[in-house]
Amino acid sequence: MNSHFDASVDLNLRHAKRSTQLKELAIKSVLIASSLVAILTTIGIVLSLSFEAFRFFGKIPFFDFLFGLDWSPQTAIRSDQVGSSGAFGVVPLLTGTMLISFIAMVVATPLGLYSAVYLAEYAKPKTRNWVKPMLELLAGIPTVVYGFFAALVVAPIIRSMGSGVGFEISSESAMAAGLVMGIMLIPFISSLSDDVINAVPQALRDASYGMGATQAETITKVVLPAATPGIMGSLLLAISRAIGETMIVVMAAGLAAKLSLNPFEAVTTMTVQIVTLLTGDQEFDSAKTLAAFAIALYLLVLTLGLNIIALKIVDNYKKKYA
């Protein structure tokens, strides 16, 4: 009797243990499955872009795309029409993208870096506490708002300034888009640079002050050189943003695929062309539609490349002063 009783208790306990074990296993599986979504997303992006891009390269030779200087994707008016394939050289789009990103960085780098330096080195905590969120607001504003502002306010101003000095500027221009994008990028540079500057040990500043250096000398000759890798990282991240930015350029940069470095002309970018190719009527197998995926793949490689390098640099930097 006694032994029987013991056995049943034992059994129950073992049973309970097994069910908790099962439960734990189930929960863990759900957790792992959730984590896989992020991986699946990446795989999905890479596969879908590659797959469609691959089909595109079946129609248009890879090197014609990568090194072609002419971009004019024609639409086939009837599906049985031949010889309407158009030109799919991505170089004009790339130069347009780079031109606008360059203008944006010319605006954002000094503004972002000087802001970061002032906030990190000069500003009183009180000032810092309200200026920093204000600057970060710039990054929180939807880009469609910047696009609208660039097209409606900035472009006309640039245009009238141009005509003021007898200079014809088109209503859509790399300048308007680049300037406004530059403003958008300021917080990307200032926030990360601010962190990076703050990570420079106080001991280095003390050493410099102790030598009789002024604060500006300390910043330019000691703090910034020490923070250079981190700052480079923040700039690369900003460039990656600029290249991938869509709405500002769609609304303010134009559609003209010209191989031009004139910032006062309308230029087009990779993102603009993706939008143009994929909005409106499309038939799915045309080179025109597939081209969008090829451009997107190129875009992904560019931005991810920049991003990986940037993260690596920042990471190494943080380890150095950790």
Partner: protein, 425 residues
């Protein structure tokens, strides 16, 4: 002997001037950035505020049963579909009996919005008692009349160059002198979907599109985000696979948003055949896009939960999952929710990926669910910004104001949550 004087030298003064200049560069950089912010807000507010008011024209309308409901059935459908144009013409004719020629009459009629007929129809459906009575009804003015009222059409410009002619202006002023024109709060803007006529266009459709998209986005990204964060922070062992997931998440956060749109297009629309232009697909795409942000934010929250809470629970014999879900996750929940709301705020402003999945279309109807075709607030802004009609400029700005208000509210809510639930360890 060394120079022991502590007085400043020319060289030092030069350096101090440099210091002052350098400091000013920093100030100027911040001031310029903030000035731009203010300038942009001011420009948009200035252009957009006027859209919250709408010009109305008061006409004495006889609700003639012969026109509205000749059969006398009082069927709402019939009453809404009736042709109210003659009623409005009659109302206009009372004020301007001298206008008799047909072309002129048509011109005069254009002072009233095309939507005026629908406004009357709506009124009658809501209140059939009106039939047979004569009332002063305030109808929406046409976009041109509205712009003129708001001072956005310059009467001094050559007549050829404006769509509101001298004759229109004369009529308008006559009405105004009789007190039959006034500006009212623009309810249409908040109650309607899109329209080709600026004065009839509203943001309700887009707002619902955004709402449904965010709903889908939240339902997907919040659980996935926190579960992933919990796994990576609490369960995963440090190994190659975890590293891979981490690197992957960090990089996913930097993928241009438009690429997520292409993912949606080729996987969800073309492969899984989910319905195009719907908040369902929009929400999924936005969810995948915000997922990395939520994961990164949630992980840092979990990391800030002190180890001794885990130790205490484990010490009492709780299993790893019990410890995590009974003790750690509840403590981290407010913070994770805050991170999610901030991620959703970003998703609310996203435009480019939605363009790729066809949520960019002229949609009049207000979506009723996640599988109805829809746009979203930012897409509506994009569409209106692209419209040639002048009346859309102020509406675009007004829609931006509304979007920004929503963003501010979401951010304030996040701040509130953080303040309220903040724990001091």
């Amino acid at each position: 002997m060394r120079d022991l004087t502590l007085n400043t030298s020319a060289q030092m003064q030069k350096r101090h001037r440099k210091e002052t200049r350098f400091k000013w560069y920093g100030r100027i950089a911040i001031l310029l950035s903030l000035a731009f912010l203010v300038f942009m807000f001011a420009a948009i507010l200035l252009r957009g505020m006027s859209a919250f008011q709408q010009t109305k024209i008061g006409l004495d309308i006889s609700f003639n049963e012969q026109v509205i409901d000749p059969a006398g059935t009082r069927d709402p459908g019939d009453m809404a579909r009736a042709n109210y144009k003659p009623l409005i013409s009659a109302g206009l004719a009372e004020v301007f009996p001298e206008v008799t020629e047909r072309r002129e009459k048509n011109q005069l009629y254009k002072l009233i919005s095309n939507g005026g007929m629908f406004e009357l129809g709506q009124m009658v459906v809501e209140n059939p008692e009106l039939i047979g009575t004569k009332q002063t009804i305030w109808l929406s003015a046409s976009s041109e009349a509205d712009l003129f009222m708001k001072g956005k059409i310059d009467a001094k410009v050559e007549e050829e160059l404006r769509r509101f002619k001298d004759r229109d202006i004369a009529w308008f002023n006559t009405l105004k002198d009789q007190g039959k024109i006034k500006k009212k709060f623009n309810t249409t803007f908040f109650k309607s979907g899109d329209s080709r006529e600026p004065e009839m266009a509203g943001i309700l459709g887009a707002a619902f599109g955004s709402f449904f998209s965010l709903l889908v986005c939240f339902v997907i990204s919040f659980p996935l985000g926190i579960l992933t964060a919990v796994y990576l922070e609490e369960f995963a062992k440090k190994n190659r696979i975890t590293d891979l997931i981490e690197v992957n998440i960090n990089n996913l956060a930097a993928v241009p948003s438009i690429v997520f749109g292409l993912l949606g297009l080729s996987i969800f629309l073309n492969f899984f055949n989910l319905p195009r232009s719907t908040p369902l697909v929009g929400g999924i795409v936005l969810a995948l896009m915000t997922l990395p942000t939520i994961i990164i934010a949630s992980r840092s929250i979990l990391r800030s939960v002190p180890q001794n809470i885990r130790d205490a629970a484990l010490g009492l014999g709780a299993s790893k999952t019990q410890t995590t879900f009974h003790h750690v996750v509840p403590l981290a929940m407010p913070g994770m929710l805050t991170g999610t709301i901030l991620g959703m705020a970003r998703a609310l402003g996203e435009t480019a990926p939605l363009l790729m999945i066809g949520m960019v279309a002229f949609i009049v109807d207000i979506p009723k669910g996640i599988t109805d075709v829809a746009t979203s607030l930012p897409v509506q802004i994009f569409l209106w910004a692209d419209s040639p009609e002048k009346g859309f400029v102020e509406r675009t700005s007004a829609a931006i104001i509304v979007l920004l208000v929503f963003l501010v509210l979401m951010n304030l809510f996040a701040v509130y949550l953080r303040r309220r639930m903040e724990r001091r360890w």
